[in-house]
């Protein structure tokens, strides 16, 4: 069997591991646009902050490709897929054939049209290792004192935190009325804003960057909604990511908001699979297909796609949004429909201003469907498990936000099942 994997992050690595768990001998070739050994994408903010060195970026050990018998062709960008001929073409003009293909090209940063942005030096996106290297270089050779981060999502906040660590005066600009707007509510955002402000970062909500002002071609200020001007020598655009499917436009593969896959992570063409941020996957809580660009799902989808490519029959049951992020020493977790309110949702919440904690559970028909934990995040996974396993928590509702909440709060049968492992009941 001749396997071809496009990509080199969580989904691609998961697929390699999945294939090898079934097929020890088949030929695996991996093509990646970036020249680097597989690295942890979220760690780029830690690198920029100086919290980890380049040697700690590896997502898998240095001998990964060798150990898993992968021929890794790094720095080879795929520009076209021919599903009829079972080949892909690279930018360098090489062709690779496959028996089974995995597309795991991830996401690419979404950059809106902003006057003056195109071509301005000192403006960056922040999703790849090269972005971190370029920003680092720029900080070293230019006199940067102030930075603006456009976008108060995961990437924007981690970028802001890193720039604070580099000693800059940072302003986060977010269009919504709160930070992490897809998963946080106002109460959660307030704690996060306070954590940033304690580090002397500024947060501007309800507006965006209308115009980038340059001096000799380099960013010198931005103009915000309403006309306010902010001096800055560095701008990070972190509005979000979209599935990286541009190169598939001519392939005939069915595209929605991302690459469309079925419950076995097969695309619309025979022998072509896809996983990770590039796909439009099943969200089992929202009961819809949509891109869910988060690492745990990328890794899981990759493993399942890899197993299926190698001939096993494994279904992907869908995922839900979930994120753990710590900003300026404030740990936070959000899972599922964390922001849902009104009928048919029931919201339980506890706030402790002194301890700077906030904990909220969202229920739908007595089942947990959403979670926000700020400050006090211990044992969060128990909630995640209850959401995934669609457990009726009606009888223990009053215990969910209690200090001593734990496995003991749960129904003893569920507890024993969890503790013993599926199929091995006590």
């Amino acid at each position: 069997m001749n396997y071809l994997v496009i990509g080199n992050s969580a989904a691609a690595v998961g697929a390699v591991e999945g294939i090898r768990s079934v097929d020890a001998e088949g030929k695996i070739t991996l093509l990646a646009a970036e020249p680097d050994h597989t690295y942890s994408r979220p760690l780029i903010s830690y690198l920029l902050a100086g919290k980890v060195g380049p040697e700690r970026l590896d997502y898998r050990p240095a001998d990964f490709y060798e150990k898993f018998k992968v021929e890794a062709k790094l720095g080879q960008e795929v520009v076209a897929v021919d599903t009829a001929a079972h080949t892909v073409a690279t930018k360098a003009g090489e062709k690779f054939s496959y028996d089974r293909l995995l597309i795991a090209t991830g996401g690419r940063p979404f950059v809106p049209e902003i006057a003056g942005l195109a071509g301005a030096r000192g403006a960056f996106t922040f999703t790849a290792l090269d972005d971190a290297r370029r920003i680092d270089q720029y900080l070293k050779e230019s006199a940067v004192k102030e930075a603006v981060v456009l976008g108060g999502g995961m990437i924007g906040l981690k970028a802001a935190e890193a720039l604070l660590a580099r000693g800059l005066q940072v302003t986060v600009v977010e269009l919504a009325d709160r930070l992490l707007s897809t998963s946080f509510d106002r109460a959660a955002s307030e704690l996060l804003e306070a954590a940033l402000e304690r580090r002397h970062a500024a947060v501007c909500l309800g507006g965006t960057v209308e115009k980038v002002i340059a001096n000799n071609g380099a960013v010198s200020a931005v103009s915000l909604t309403g006309g306010r001007e902010l001096a800055c020598q560095l701008l990070v655009v972190a509005i979000g990511v979209v599935p990286n499917v541009e190169f598939l436009k001519s392939s005939g593969l069915k595209l929605g908001r991302g690459l469309v896959v079925d419950d076995h992570l097969r695309t619309s063409a025979p022998d072509v699979y896809a996983a990770g941020d590039v796909v439009e996957g099943w969200d089992f809580l929202a009961e819809t297909k949509r891109p869910l660009p988060i690492l745990p799902l990328a890794c899981r989808q990759g493993r399942i796609a890899g197993c299926n490519m190698a001939g096993r029959d494994e279904s992907y049951l869908g995922g839900m949004p979930m994120n753990a992020i710590e900003i300026c020493d404030l740990p936070t977790i959000s899972v599922g429909l964390a922001n849902a309110s009104g009928e048919p949702y029931e919201v339980l919440a506890v706030r402790n201003p002194e301890r700077r904690t906030y904990r909220k559970v969202v229920l739908r028909e007595n089942k947990i469907v959403g979670l926000i934990l700020i400050g006090d995040i211990d044992r969060a996974g128990i909630f995640t498990g209850l959401i995934e396993n669609k457990v009726d928590v009606g009888p223990i509702k009053h215990l969910l936000l209690a200090e001593e909440f734990g496995l003991l709060s749960l129904d003893s049968e569920y507890r024993k099942h969890m503790v013993s492992g599926p199929g091995i009941e006590v």
Binding site: A10, G14, S40, R41, P42, L43, Y46, K51, V52, R56, D58, Y59, R60, P61, L295, P296, C299, R300, R303, M322, N323, A324, I325, E326, P331, I333, V335, I377, D378, R379, A380, G381, I382, T384, G385, E388, N389, E404, G406, L407, L408, S409, M418, V419, S420, G421, G423, I424, V426
Partner: protein, 150 residues
């Protein structure tokens, strides 16, 4: 694989498992130092839950499809291919808490040893995990139930 199983009906809630775990994962590996000089800097990787008459000790289940493993963004969590044990490398961990969010039994803690996660390693190098070996009431068992099932 061999895993640790708790017997709720026999657990007294004495927390000796937590103490032995703490000592085994301390720098000094001596109970006095661990409980004095290193106090507050080490985390027991097993946790006794207690409510009324019911108590039991809980550690990492070393799941077959480990959620923490797929959620780990740095590659700090790995599975030993020979033994199946799910291991955590504190030197690679940055404390992002994705594993903590993903573990359905809540067996991963924010460690006090630094800004990193902390979880049971089944006492690598020991004949049996110290929590099991030192449980006075045999409320913890270390056995292969998959084998027994077969």
């Amino acid at each position: 694989m061999k895993r640790i199983y708790a017997r709720e009906d026999l657990c007294l809630g004495c927390r000796l498992c937590e103490i032995h775990c703490l000592v085994a994962h301390s720098k000094s590996r001596r109970i006095i130092s661990a409980m004095t000089r290193e106090k507050g800097q080490i985390t027991p990787r097993c946790k006794v839950e207690e409510s009324g008459q019911v108590t039991f000790a809980l550690q990492c289940r070393h799941c077959e499809h480990a959620r923490c493993l797929e959620a780990c963004m740095t590659g700090a969590i790995t599975r030993d291919p020979a033994t199946g044990v799910v291991l955590h490398n504190a030197d690679k961990c940055v404390g992002c808490w994705m594993c903590l969010m993903s573990c359905p039994v809540g067996a991963i803690q924010r460690g006090r040893e630094g800004h990193v996660a902390s979880k049971c390693d089944l006492c690598q190098g020991e004949a049996a995990p110290v929590c099991v070996a030192n449980c006075p009431n045999e409320a913890l068992l270390f056995e292969d139930r998959e084998e027994r099932k077969k």
